[in-house]
């Protein structure tokens, strides 16, 4: 990695200068550990986390609102149950829908929360609330959990993006709000590499190196006049960009073995899961895969056969691979939607929007295995045990990867709670 050549270029020194890169640069003096950028000190969990093994989050967002009854909370034989049967899983006593036979074999790595009551039936609101953990207030923006994770989990020297969104459909980006552009999602549309990770046709790697060398010389000269944490951060971002270009293959799923490509299948979601595995192996802190679409107001059952048929095997394969490769213990997996679907089956064999009693799945890092949290009544129309919502979910995700979700961000002197202060993690779900 090229460094600017001016005085005190020693690595320790740069490491210490790196402290300024975190963002508390603006005006004040840097305090706290490397990479903690702008976080209030006095959050031990946050200070420690970078010492441990790199933690990661994989969030799989099933767009449109997957039916809990056709997935994690089947109610066969009831008026709301629909035609599908419940099948046993690798966890004794835990049953899920027959549409997920492969996933059923992996449930001992995962836990189900069957008691979400998010009091919302709107797609836009659900998307925001489930991924930020905050109630949506007009005119207020909160960072996507991916932005929070990127800010909290990305090591200072890390050149790859800290927050990647792999999408075929669904929203094109996940915002960072007050955390700033550094933490908003880098999007891989249809699994293609992120924007601008390819040099313009005419520009050779050699020429790029040459012009960057020239840039460094201009910077060295200006550093003689004034040098601040900001100028260092800016200079460093170009070094990181060169690093990233050098590792560009990380984004190319085709570099995976024939065998793996076959195991994950040819579906878009299959490819995206394999890509996610590749990125997780390179310690990318946060990845979200959007799988579209589950908004089945019409023929819910045919469409869930198709969509969950696409979801089941690649997802199960990914969970198993992460486990086999020892990545699962440092990777939190979450499968969520904006809401569930109505227990009532409408006259078109459809199910409509339903935030009152639905389910998500979590597993891996910091999450206990094979648990079922909460539950619904006999035909799934109400939560009867342990009501939780998006606030608890995001707290739990962050806590699972060692982030003190009760802490605060200090952004340029303004303080923001890391997660909704009125909520907390689902304690019994944490390992």
């Amino acid at each position: 990695m090229k460094r600017c050549q001016y005085a005190c270029g020693s690595t320790e020194h740069l490491a210490s200068r790196r402290n300024f890169l975190g963002g508390m640069a603006a005006g004040g003096l840097a305090v706290g550990g490397a990479g903690l950028g702008g976080l209030l000190s006095g959050n031990p969990a946050m200070a420690d986390q970078l010492k441990g093994k790199q933690k990661r989050i994989l969030n799989i967002f099933l767009h449109g609102g997957v039916s809990q009854l056709e997935s994690w909370d089947p109610k066969p034989g009831t008026d709301t149950g629909g035609p599908f049967r419940a099948i046993p899983t690798s966890v004794p006593g835990m049953h899920i829908c027959e549409l997920l036979p492969h996933t059923a074999k992996q449930m001992h790595h995962l836990s189900i929360v069957r008691s979400l009551d998010t009091k919302n039936n709107d797609h836009g609101v659900g998307q925001v609330e489930m991924t930020t953990g905050h109630k949506r207030i007009p005119g207020t923006e909160y960072p996507h959990v991916g932005a929070i994770a990127a800010k909290m989990l990305t090591p200072a020297e890390f050149s790859l993006p800290g927050h990647i969104l792999i999408r075929g459909a669904g929203p094109g980006s996940s915002g960072a709000a007050y955390l700033g552009p550094r933490y908003s999602s880098v999007t891989m549309n249809d699994g293609k590499p992120p924007q601008f990770t390819e040099r313009p046709g005419a520009l050779s790697a050699e020429a790029d190196e040459r012009r960057n060398a020239m840039r460094s010389r201009f910077n060295d000269r200006f550093a003689g006049r004034r040098r601040t944490a900001d100028t260092d951060a800016y200079t460093f971002s170009y070094d990181q960009a060169q690093d990233l270009l050098a590792q560009r293959e990380v984004f190319d799923v085709e570099k995976e073995s024939e065998a793996d490509l076959a195991r994950y299948g040819t579906s878009e979601f299959g490819k995206h899961c394999l890509l996610a595995r590749r990125l997780l192996e390179h310690d990318v802190p946060f990845i979200q895969i959007n799988h579209s679409n589950y908004d089945t107001h019409h023929e819910n059952f045919n469409f869930h056969i198709e969509q969950l048929g696409e979801f089941d095997q690649p997802f199960a394969t990914l969970v198993d691979d992460l486990h086999q490769r020892g990545l699962l213990q440092d990777t939190l997996i979450c499968v969520m939607s904006e809401f569930g679907r109505t227990p009532r089956i409408n006259t078109r064999y459809g199910r409509d929007h339903w935030g009152k009693s639905w389910s998500i799945v979590m597993g891996g890092c910091g999450i206990q295995q094979g648990a079922i949290i909460g539950g619904t009544n006999e035909n799934g129309t109400e939560v009867v045990d342990r009501v939780v919502d998006h606030g608890h979910v995001v707290h739990t995700m962050l806590r699972a990867v060692g982030v003190d979700s009760s802490g605060e961000f200090d952004i340029a002197g303004r303080k923001y709670p890391v997660a909704d202060p009125a909520k907390g993690p689902i304690g019994e779900l944490l390992a």
């Binding site: 200079t235 971002s237 340029a412």
Partner: protein, 805 residues
């Protein structure tokens, strides 16, 4: 009182590091002042005096002409100067050339565009919405600034668009961008208009900021919570509608101590005690229904708008915002958090600006002109070298400061007590009225009852009187005949007829006499009752009067509240001064500690020195490095590469093609025509740039008050995006094109530096650039444009270009 909760010197050193952004070193008194600001001097001189006055250690020299020309163009027009503009300015050797350039730019057309862009970001947080067309909104801002509309008027229009008499005024966008949702409006009016982000005080008194109470939040909320978004069914125009009722009750989720209600109250300002009340029929000018937006006879939102200009906190916020718009950072920072623990970096300076701007009708042009005329603005970004420190002087400052510390704290504490007393007085007054409000109803009830009782008594008394009178009339004639009969018998003793009638008459008159006695008795009873009832009425009336007499008038309540508030602000100032004295002491200490550290540990020394320089920067002893905003960066890159001119031509052409409607107005003056056209061109310019700017915004963010962030994506964007690479093309009128036309390798550096860095090249730059070209191009002339593009790119991506210095 605990000024900064810091024990060990180390921690306190860190502490001021942490608070570097919010602490400052204002001299506690005039003893140390070089020269105290004098009211009749121009503002820019008083600014400098205030800064020098609180300065500790050396001041940076004034910046070079080259630095100045780049800085002033960026700050007043939003883009670096063209190489011609640079050359003209550098060639000019008149002593007043800076002042002249300032005036040209402030009067120039781009000024309005640049500040409109900044206001847009400030007011909308870069959120888009479909309620009001973005172009119309930008046009509104440009127009308002170009016509030197006072800032307080702009904010009034944003809060009460109906005040503009144009139902479709784009000013609606400010509140409609928040869906006119009461809490969203309360939060952002608090932030942007008063510099107080009280969101956390929505559900309870602010957990972190002692000065923000739930009642403050709901006081402001009460002005806004009657307002809603309304879509006109016919015109589909989205406007604001307001109801005539709806209070602002709240309950702390922490204490759970029952519900309270607050009257409308401007944050840290007067309560609306004298709100006019209307009968249900008269409550509305326009009653809200399916067809019409509501317009109450008394609009609380309008009342808020009307109260801005006189509100101290509004004035402070405006002064602080304008300073931040030019210097890149507020004297109070973050600009949304005015409160005791976050005092201005220089209270004297903020007070000065606050009063002077208000006196000058919140005129943006005036304010900006004065600020950029100041030495403080024009200082170099190069910090003085450690060697230049006069430690002896610092030491004596330290001694003086230390001596004054105690008295300052004492003074502040004393004022704090006064705050309590004035508060008690005001609260007691309120309590009295509450009491009155409690006692009055039963008394009034009682009064009403006694009045009806009195009427009844009067009636009964009259009745009795009538009965008695009737008996008297009947008795009289009988008496007369009786007497006559007696007389007759004396004359004719033996007349039996007379004797008989005498017996009858005597019997009858006896009966009547008896009846009359009872009637009389009845009459007297009624008389007593009547007197008693009358008495009761009088006494009750008296009671009501005494209670009413206790009631304190709205005028008096406001008086007491304002009295309290003025002590609060005094106490605030004293507290700030004391805190700053403490921080100042710590700066002295860290400067005095520096030489020792420098000898022992070079790395620690560098960190320590950077801390000192940062503090000097905050205090205006050294100019800051300001990262260019996404707008400035995009436009400047285009300016440097020769692409901005194209957009300017395109904008001109577009306006000529479709001239603004306003030009067709009756009897429009040439002057007005010119202005309208100029405003239209600037608006169109934003359109021309929008595509590129949005790409830069996507990468560089750029919310107001956002912390600086350098990201890999930004580097990748500038490195590999088609947009930026097109700007490196070698067409005739582009920079690379021009340079390519210049044969001599050594002749490249100057035009390159002038275009990109707004300065001539240094000698070694000339050498370096010439070498680069010869090495890269070699014998193959075909490679030359590519090599030049590399050079231009390397400069555009350099720190010198990225920052305003």
């Amino acid at each position: 009182m605990n000024i900064l909760p810091m024990a060990s010197p180390v921690r306190s050193f860190l502490a001021c590091a942490i608070f570097a952004s919010i602490c400052s070193i204002a001299a506690p008194d005039r003893l140390l002042a070089d020269t105290p600001p004098v009211a009749n001097e121009p503002l820019h001189q008083r600014i400098d005096a205030a800064v020098e006055h609180s300065a500790i250690g050396p001041m940076a020299a004034l910046c070079t002409d080259a630095d100045f020309v780049r800085r002033i163009y960026l700050d007043l027009t939003g883009v670096i100067p063209s190489h011609e503009q640079v050359e003209t300015f550098l060639a000019d050797d008149a002593p007043d050339k800076r002042a002249r350039l300032i005036d040209t730019l402030i009067e120039g057309p781009e000024f309005a565009r640049h500040f409109a862009v900044q206001l847009n970001v400030l007011l909308l947080d870069r959120r888009t919405d479909t309620t009001v067309d973005q172009k119309a909104w930008e046009a509104y801002l440009i127009d308002s600034i170009a016509r030197r509309k006072p800032l307080d008027q702009i904010f009034q229009e944003l809060i009460d668009p109906s005040g503009t008499d144009d139902p479709a005024t784009p000013a609606r966008k400010f509140l409609l961008n928040r869906d006119a949702e009461p809490h969203a409006m309360t939060r952002d009016v608090g932030r942007m208009v008063f510099g107080m982000d009280m969101q956390c005080a929505q559900c309870h008194d602010h957990p972190i900021i002692d000065d923000y109470y739930q009642a403050d939040y709901y006081g402001l909320f009460a002005f806004l919570n009657r307002t809603t978004k309304f879509t006109d069914p016919k015109s589909k125009l989205i406007v604001l509608s307001e109801k005539a009722e709806g209070e602002a009750p709240f309950e702390s989720v922490f204490t759970g101590e029952g519900r309270e209600t607050t009257l409308p109250r401007v944050p840290w300002g007067a309560t609306l005690y004298d709100e006019p009340t209307f009968s249900a029929e008269e409550a509305y000018q326009v009653k809200p229904d399916k067809e019409n937006a509501g317009k109450p006879s008394f609009s609380r939102r309008e009342a808020l708008a009307k109260r801005l200009s006189e509100n101290e906190q509004f004035r402070r916020n405006i002064a602080n915002r304008v300073w931040a718009l030019v210097l890149g950072r507020g004297l109070v920072h973050p600009t949304d958090f005015h409160y005791a623990e976050n005092p201005p970096v220089n209270p004297e300076l903020l007070a000065l600006l606050t009063d002077d701007l208000a006196q000058h009708k919140f005129d943006l042009h005036y304010a900006v002109r004065q600020i950029v005329l100041s030495k403080t603005y024009q200082r170099s970004c190069e910090p003085p070298a450690p060697e230049t420190l006069n430690l002896a002087d610092i030491r004596s400052r330290l001694d003086a400061l230390t001596q004054r510390q105690e008295p300052l704290i004492a003074a502040a504490d004393q004022l704090k007590e006064q705050v309590e007393t004035t508060k008690v007085v005001w609260q007691e007054a309120l309590a009295v009225n509450d009491e009155v409000a409690e006692q009055l109803p039963p008394l009034e009830e009682k009064l009403a009852q006694s009045r009806t009782a009195a009427e009844k008594a009067t009636a009964e008394h009259a009745e009795a009187q009538k009965a008695y009178a009737a008996l008297t009339q009947r008795a009289e004639p009988i008496q007369t005949v009786l007497t006559a009969t007696k007389a007759a018998i004396e004359k004719v003793a033996d007349e039996p007829a007379l004797k008989e009638s005498l017996v009858l008459l005597e019997k009858r008159s006896g009966e009547l006499a008896a009846e009359m006695t009872t009637a009389k008795a009845e009459l007297d009873k009624k008389m007593e009752a009547l007197t008693a009832a009358k008495k009761m009425v009088e006494t009750t009336e008296a009671e009501v009067a005494t209670v009413l007499a206790k009631r304190i008038t709205p005028e008096r309540l406001t008086e007491l509240e304002l009295a309290h508030l003025s002590v609060v602000s005094e106490a605030g100032k004293a507290d700030a001064t004391a805190r700053l004295a403490q921080a100042q002491i710590e700066l002295c200490q860290s400067i005095l500690d520096y030489p020792a550290i420098a000898l022992s540990d070079s790395e620690k020394a560098e960190v320590a020195w950077e801390a000192i320089v940062n503090r000097w920067t905050l205090q205006g002893q050294v100019a800051p490095l300001k990262p260019l905003t996404p707008e400035q960066l995009a436009a400047s890159a285009m300016q440097a590469t020769g692409f901005l001119a194209r957009s300017q031509t395109a904008a001109q052409a577009a306006v000529e093609k479709t001239p603004p409607k306003a030009l067709e107005a009756e009897g429009i003056t040439d002057e007005e025509k010119a202005l309208v056209t100029q405003i239209a061109v600037q608006g169109e310019m934003l359109n021309q740039l929008r595509g590129s700017v949005n790409q830069f915004v996507g990468q560089f963010g750029g919310l107001s008050g956002e912390e600086f962030q350098a990201t890999v994506n930004q580097a990748l964007f500038l490195g590999n995006s088609p947009t930026v690479n097109n700007w490196l093309a070698a067409a005739g009128d582009t920079l690379v094109g021009r340079l390519n036309a210049t044969e001599q390798p050594t002749a490249i550096a100057d035009p390159l530096c002038l275009a990109v860095l707004s300065r001539p090249a240094t000698l070694d730059e000339q050498r370096e650039i010439a070498n680069f070209l010869t090495e890269t191009v070699g014998e193959e002339a075909g490679k030359r444009p590519a090599a030049l593009a590399e050079l231009v790119w390397a400069m555009i991506t350099s720190n010198e270009f990225r920052f305003n210095h």
